[in-house]
Amino acid sequence: MFDSALIPKGVKRCSFAKFFIWVLILHIPVLIGTVAAILCWGLALNQTYLNNNFPFGLWIAADLGIIALGGGAFFTGFLRYVINIKELKNIVNYAVVIGVICYAAAQGILAIDIGQPIRGWFIFWHANVHSMLTEVAFCIMAYFMVLCVEYLPLLLENRQIFKFSVPRSFAHHLHEAMPTIAAIGVFLSCFHQGSLGGVAGVLYGRPFAYREGFLVWPWTFFLFILSAMACGPCFTILITKITEFFAKKKLVKKSVVGILAKISGGLTTLYVLLKIIDTLGWFGLVKEAGAPVKSFYANQPYGWWVLVMEVIILGAIPALLLLNKKTRENEPILILACVLNCAGIVMNRWIMTVQALAIPVMPFDKFVSYHPNWVEWATTLLPLWVGAIVIMLSYRYLPIFPQERELNPY
C-alpha cells in the first residue's frame, strides 16, 4: 500500500484508495460547515435564527452536550491513572482521542458563537472570576492543553516517528507522567463540567434554570459533573462500537467495555435519582415564589413530556439497562442504553439552555419558539465530520487499540 510504512505493525487496514475516498466524501459536509462559519464571521450572526429572546441556541446547547459526552476522556483517565484500573488502558487512548475532538469542537463552536471572535480572548485577559463562563473558558482551555498532552504520546507512537529516539523516549516519559497529568485533567474537568451546569443554574432571573446550591455553586454544578461522568463512558463505548462497525472487527475486549458500562450504570442511576430530587426541590422552590409549576410546561413544544422524556426514558431506562448485568452484557441492548444515555444528556443540556430561555418570565411576555437554521446546524455538525476524519487518521496510523492485534490475529 501507498502508506503502509505509516500503518502500525501487525494490524490490517483498508486500501489507501478506499480510505482516501471516504476522507474526500467527508470533506463535503466539512466544506458546507466551513462556508456557514465564514458566513457567521463575515456577515455577523444575523445569518442564524438566534435572536434577542434566544441569545443562546443550538450552539451553546451543543457545546454543553459535546463537553458532557467528551467527559469520557477525563473520567476514563481518572479511572485508569488515578484509581488505577489497569484493564482500562485498552480504551483510555480512544477516550483521549474522542476527548480531544470534543473539546476542540466546543471551542470551535464558541469561536463562531461569540459576536466578536477576534476579541474573544478578552475572556482571559479581562477575566471576571465571578462569572461561570470565565471558569468554563479557563478550564476548557487548560483541559484542552491537558488532552493534547495526553494525545501527544499516541501521536509519537506512529511507526515512523517512533523510530527516532527523542520522540520515543519523550513518549515514554509522558506515559510515566500520565497519572499527574490525568489528575490535573480531572481537577480541571470537574470544575468546567460543573461550571457549565453553573452557567444556567446561577441565572436567578430565569426561574426555570435557577437552582440554589452549595457555597457559590448551584446544584446544577454538581449534577452536570455527575452526568458527564455518567454518560461520558457511554459515549466512548458508543464511538468504539461505531468504529468497530466500520472497521468490521473487534477492537476492545468485552470485559473492558463491561467495566465502563457497569460504572456508567451506577453513576447514571445515582444521577437520575439526584435529578429527580433536584426537580422536586425546584418544584417547591418555584411554588413558594408563587408560580405554578405547570406554567413552566404550558408552552408547546416544551410540555411535561420533555421532563418525562429526559428523566425517565432517557435517564432511568438506560440507567437500569446498564445496571443490570444481563442487559448490560447483551450487546444490542448495551448500545441502545448508551444511545439513550447520551441522548438524555444532550437533551438535558438543550433544556437547560434553550428551554430555560424559551419560558417567558415576565407574565406579559409572549412565548417564542426557536429552531436553528441551516447555518447553525452546519456549523454544529462540522466537528462531527472533522472528528470522523481525525478518528479515521488516528485509527489508521496510530496504535490506539492495544488489543487490536490480539483480537484480530492474521
Binding site: A44, N46, N51, I114, G205, A289, S295, V361, P363, K366
Partner: protein
C-alpha cells in the same frame, strides 16, 4: 481606585455621595405614544433597518413599550402600556449582585455603586450574550447587524454616545452621558451635587404625558423618593429578587398583578395581545 469602587458599596466614599438613580413610571398616565422610544433612539444613536422594521426579536430597542392585556373578552378587554427601560437591578439577598453583571465573563458590564447605574462597555464586550440570558426583562439587545445609517443620516448622530459595532450587547444606560454632562457643569460651577432637573434621561424628558419621573431614589428631595412609596407602586418580577430601580404605579389591580408574578399566576388570562 479599584478598591474604593468595590468597597464603596452603600457607603460614603471619598468625596462622592452615593446615589441610586431610578424611575417611577405612572402607567395611568402613560398613553403608549412611543415618544420615549423615539427619543431614546435619537439620543443614543440606536440603529434601524429597512427590513424587519419593528421586529422586537432582532431589532434594537433600549426602551421598549410593552402592550399588555387583561385577556378579557369584548367588551371587557383592557390594555395597558408598560414602558420598559433597563431596570438597573441592584440585586439583594445572598446574590447581592445584578443578574447580568455577575455573569459577564469580561467585566464589560458593571454595577456602579456610586450611581446605581448598570454600565455597558461596548469595546470590552465580545458578544457571548450570557448577560442577555441572565436578564429576565429582555432589556439587553445584541447587534445582530453592522449598524448602518442611510447616506447623510450620520449627520444627526449624537457625539456623546458612541455608535456600537456589530456583535456586542447593549442596553439602556439611563442616559449616563447626561449625568456626566451634568456633573461637568456642576463641577465647573464648583458644586458637588447634581440637581434633580439637571440630570434627566431622554425618555423622561420627552414623555408628553409626564408619566416618567427620574431621580435619586434615596434623596428625599427628589420626586421619585415619595412616588416609589405610593400604595400602587410595584416593580417588575419583584419576587425574583433582582431589586430593580424602576418602579411603576397603576391604579388598576390587574396591571399590578400582571407585573409581579412569574408566569400567569392563578392561571389568570394574562396574555400578550
Amino acid at each position: 481606585m479599584k478598591d474604593a469602587h468595590h468597597k464603596g458599596e452603600g457607603h460614603q466614599e471619598g468625596h462622592g455621595t452615593v446615589y441610586k438613580y431610578g424611575m417611577v413610571i405612572n402607567l395611568d398616565k402613560c398613553t403608549g405614544c412611543g415618544a420615549c422610544m423615539v427619543a431614546c433612539m435619537a439620543e443614543n444613536n440606536i440603529p434601524f433597518r429597512k427590513e424587519d422594521t419593528n421586529d422586537r426579536l432582532t431589532q434594537n430597542f433600549w426602551m421598549r413599550v410593552y402592550k399588555i392585556s387583561n385577556g378579557g373578552s369584548f367588551p371587557d378587554n383592557d390594555i395597558c402600556y408598560l414602558p420598559r427601560p433597563c431596570m438597573h437591578c441592584e440585586g439583594h439577598g445572598h446574590h447581592n449582585r445584578t443578574p447580568c453583571v455577575t455573569v459577564c465573563p469580561a467585566v464589560a458590564t458593571d454595577y456602579n455603586h456610586e450611581t446605581g447605574i448598570v454600565s455597558q462597555i461596548y469595546t470590552r464586550c465580545f458578544g457571548c450574550r450570557y448577560c442577555m440570558a441572565a436578564c429576565p426583562y429582555h432589556v439587553r439587545v445584541f447587534n445582530w447587524w453592522d449598524p448602518k445609517w442611510p447616506e447623510g443620516m450620520e449627520e444627526y448622530l449624537n457625539p456623546d454616545v458612541s455608535p456600537r459595532m456589530r456583535g456586542v450587547v447593549e442596553k439602556c444606560s439611563f442616559c449616563f452621558h447626561r449625568l456626566q454632562r451634568a456633573r461637568n457643569k456642576a463641577y465647573s460651577e464648583d458644586r458637588r451635587e447634581v440637581h434633580e432637573d439637571e440630570y434627566q434621561t431622554a425618555c423622561t424628558q420627552a414623555c408628553p404625558a409626564g408619566a416618567i419621573t427620574f431621580g435619586d431614589l434615596t434623596n428625599p428631595e427628589h420626586k421619585v423618593y415619595e412616588l416609589k412609596k405610593t400604595p400602587n407602586a410595584f416593580r417588575l418580577l419583584e419576587v425574583l429578587g433582582t431589586n430593580p430601580k424602576v418602579y411603576y404605579t397603576s391604579s388598576r389591580a390587574w396591571v399590578r398583578k400582571a407585573a409581579d408574578v412569574y408566569v400567569g399566576k392563578e392561571g389568570s388570562g394574562v396574555t400578550h395581545t
